[in-house]
Symmetry: C2
Subunit: 206 residues, 2 copies
């Protein structure tokens, strides 16, 4: 006999534990929670998941997740459409949007080059980015990719692809986080932030 | 504009973050994971949840979760049906089954008395337990409830309800966990295990 007294429960736990970060114990807790709630609640959850998966689209301009053909950011006339910020995925878009410090458009790669995970240049939306640069008046491309080997590799790959366009290519600042004590910053970040030091007046006046 | 570029995504995140222990960040990670998978995967997950919620039943004898009217444990002729182990919920059944040390039947209360959470005696299956005792030849009732104030209150409530039946009422042993160093055991457990000490020979020979 299996540990579960119900095949239906076991199947639900099997499916839930396929989700990232959800082990079988957590899956069981979630399943029992759903069992205690109403049928309506469970249907709302499952409908929202299926509907999302079936109906969601990717913006044909920037590849961001969208309900329409063109996402809310790309279709917003108040955004500066000559600046493109290149990010790994939609979570980065949300993180940057939360800062309220960026008013341009995005380009969502859908991942970064990672031979370890079998993600090569062809799996990402580099061609779409090159197309945007050749068809539009773009003044700046900001590379906002993770500060990892994969992120740096991807930044360099993009740099080589677009360096012949007449466009300013920038990357987001790296250094000691605002509010951090120096002694708690990691050596590499701290070392780099000394080498890449900037004039005080520039740092203060932005 | 909301932080999400898609209403569909936002709705899925809303629903997922209603689950216990799932915050909005985790919900977003789960939703994006599902977006990357196939439609089929999402449908399998959502079908399993709805099917579980709609079709699962409670064993009419012991209140355990079951696919049939009588659960696999109650309907197993090789189990000793004169011993009933009373537990809080199905997770406890699974935990005890895993030990392979119990061959009787269960009684699943579906909770414990907790005025804080508004759970009173009428919300639990005490009457069903009394009915089982009056209609069957039961020799022993094992109270296997949590070692908390609520658990002890519930045990005492059950004890008073069934003490007039000709049945042995026992409770699971409490004490220092097997493999634990004394210095790491909490004071109350250690103190109680000294007061409730048992003859060495009995401990060794079971």
């Amino acid at each position: 006999m299996s540990a579960y007294s119900s095949k239906l429960l076991e199947q639900a736990v099997d499916e839930l534990s396929k989700l990232p970060g959800i082990g079988r114990k957590t899956a069981l807790r979630l399943a029992l929670h759903l069992l205690q709630g109403s049928v309506d609640d469970v249907e709302k959850l499952s409908d929202s998941l299926v509907k999302m998966r079936k109906d969601i689209r990717h913006c044909r301009i920037c590849n961001n997740i969208s309900d329409q053909e063109v996402c809310m950011i790309c279709s917003n006339p108040r955004r500066k459409n000559s600046v493109i910020c290149v990010v790994e995925d939609i979570r980065d878009v949300m993180a940057i949007e939360k800062t309220s410090q960026f008013n341009g458009l995005y380009h969502v790669l859908g991942g970064i080059i990672s031979p370890m995970e079998g993600i090569g240049p062809n799996d990402l939306t580099f061609d779409l980015l090159v197309e945007r640069l050749s068809q539009n008046e773009i003044s700046e491309v900001i590379l906002a990719l993770p500060a990892t080997i994969e992120g740096d590799t991807t930044s360099f790959y993009i740099y080589r692809k677009i360096k012949d366009f007449k466009v300013l290519i920038t990357t987001i600042a790296r250094g000691v986080a605002i509010g951090d004590e120096l002694e708690y910053a990691d050596e590499i970040t701290l070392g780099r932030s000394i080498i890449k030091r900037i004039p005080y007046e520039k740092a203060v006046n932005g």
